[in-house]
Amino acid sequence: MKLEIKRIKVNDIIFGDETIVKDGVLTLNKEELITELKKVPGVVDVALDFAFPGDEIRIIPVKDVIEPRVTVSPKGVRGFSGVNADIVQLGDGVVHALDEVAIVTIGDIVGFQEGVIDMWGEGAKWTPFSKTKNIVVDLKCDKSLKPHEHEATVREAGLLASELIGLAGKDCTKFVKEEVYEMGMPDEETKKYPNLPKVVYVEMLISQGLLHDGFCYGINTRFTLPTLLHPNEELDGAVISGNCVAACDKITTYQHQNNSVIKSLYARHGKDINFVGVVISPELTTLDGKFRNADFVSKLCSQLGAQGVIVSEEGYGNPDSDLVMIAERLEKKGIVTVLITDECSGWDGLSQPLTDAKPEAKAVISTGNVSKVVHLGKAKKILGDPESIANLAGGWAGAYDPETGTMSCELNAVIGATSEIGFHNCTIKVL
């Protein structure tokens, strides 16, 4: 498969008469966009705002982050396959992406949602999305919608927004970066690199129901067995997020489109490793489901001849069981495993980080302590629901000072802070 992602530099974003990128400026026709988005059933009103790096703007609660793109080849392919567009095989072709631009959808579906992005100051350090130029899409939905309908509506509208805005880059010919992802199927690649160790990436996805879903080619991963993908498929939009709650470690659609583990492994393919595939591993609610999937994932890895596996987690709590079970099965088969997870070591960093431990989980990358308290400054502007700020206070009194507008919150409320696909650069140092 060969996927080319051509990145278009955007220096500024403004509203204007058309939706197009010209000379580094992305112009958006606000009315047209809003009219189109309001056609999504259930959407009652839409507000569009910008939040650029350095602006003293706080965005909260964030539902999803998506990269605006357009498929230029094969012609006519639009949207996200199986989700808001026809099913097509992904992974081959040419895509234009608006570089370092992100669509951020906001609006809470349930009252306790968190998820903050601060574009400046202390808060900005802790999220990767303080570095993107964000187009914030506030979706107001029909109040009579049931929660899962509400979620589906916001999800669909968000993806549509990314598609409509992505179209702005359709005819661009100048690019700041051209990424080429070219890799055959495992047997071809193994013929080319017979001596390189085979590596599989197991990507765990929360698949537990309302606001905790993931989608692969449009199918809710609650309903699939662990699935084998070519790395290009995920980079080309095969996996999208339906996870609205775990702010610090949920994999946003943007992060699926730019999956850091896939990119890191791809860079080593043909040099140090033979990257043979990505296995999507759903994290189910039932224990039988967890056992079944752990067995199946380890079988798929064996079937592919994996000698090494990287396993990334999504979420915190019961998925820790899945992570450790998968590591156990792989190691017992002699497949070396590296796990990527975040940890909960308390406000003082002294609590035992792991509750579900097995000796096989011996090689772990820690993406940070979700309980670490950070102090966010007073925002000049808040995009979203100021009420949600009370949720961010993490349930302890005195964390939000309404006078000064400054707030203490835990990292677990900051979007992407402890990304378990290693998208961000937090780690742990023992003092």
Binding site: Q113, Y316, T355
Partner: protein, 122 residues
């Protein structure tokens, strides 16, 4: 095998399954379920949720199956209580959003029941 739901969620619809209502907190549900498991039974769902915010929920439902004593269920439940304490010693239960948590709890039990219905052989 008969299924049971341990819960403190007053709004929970057990969808035909017997409900053991626990008066008290989320933690109490975990404790009572553990006590039950010492005399028999097997966990069908993991006692804890998948995102930290859901740990702040005032309500929690756990699905179990009647039967003989299952050691791994007991061990898992003990670890789950420890995991719960790790997060909740720092936090207050989020009673403000009770209605939404009740709804989320129902939704996740429904997911579990739906999963079981699909996977179970008879």
């Amino acid at each position: 095998m008969n299924k049971l739901i341990f819960t403190n969620n007053e709004k929970l619809d057990g969808r035909g399954i017997s409900v053991i209502f626990v008066k008290g907190s989320y933690r109490r549900v975990l404790e009572e379920c553990l006590r039950y498991l010492h005399r028999g039974g097997r966990l069908l769902t993991h006692p804890n949720p998948a995102s930290i915010k859901l740990f702040h929920s005032p309500v929690r439902s756990i699905l179990i199956e009647e039967g003989s004593v299952d050691e791994s269920s007991i061990l898992l439940m003990e670890r789950a209580i420890h995991q719960y304490d790790q997060i909740m010693t720092l936090h207050e239960v989020d009673n403000r959003n009770l209605v939404h948590y009740e709804m989320m709890d129902q939704a996740h039990i429904d997911s579990a029941l739906e999963e079981l219905a699909r996977w179970q052989s008879s």
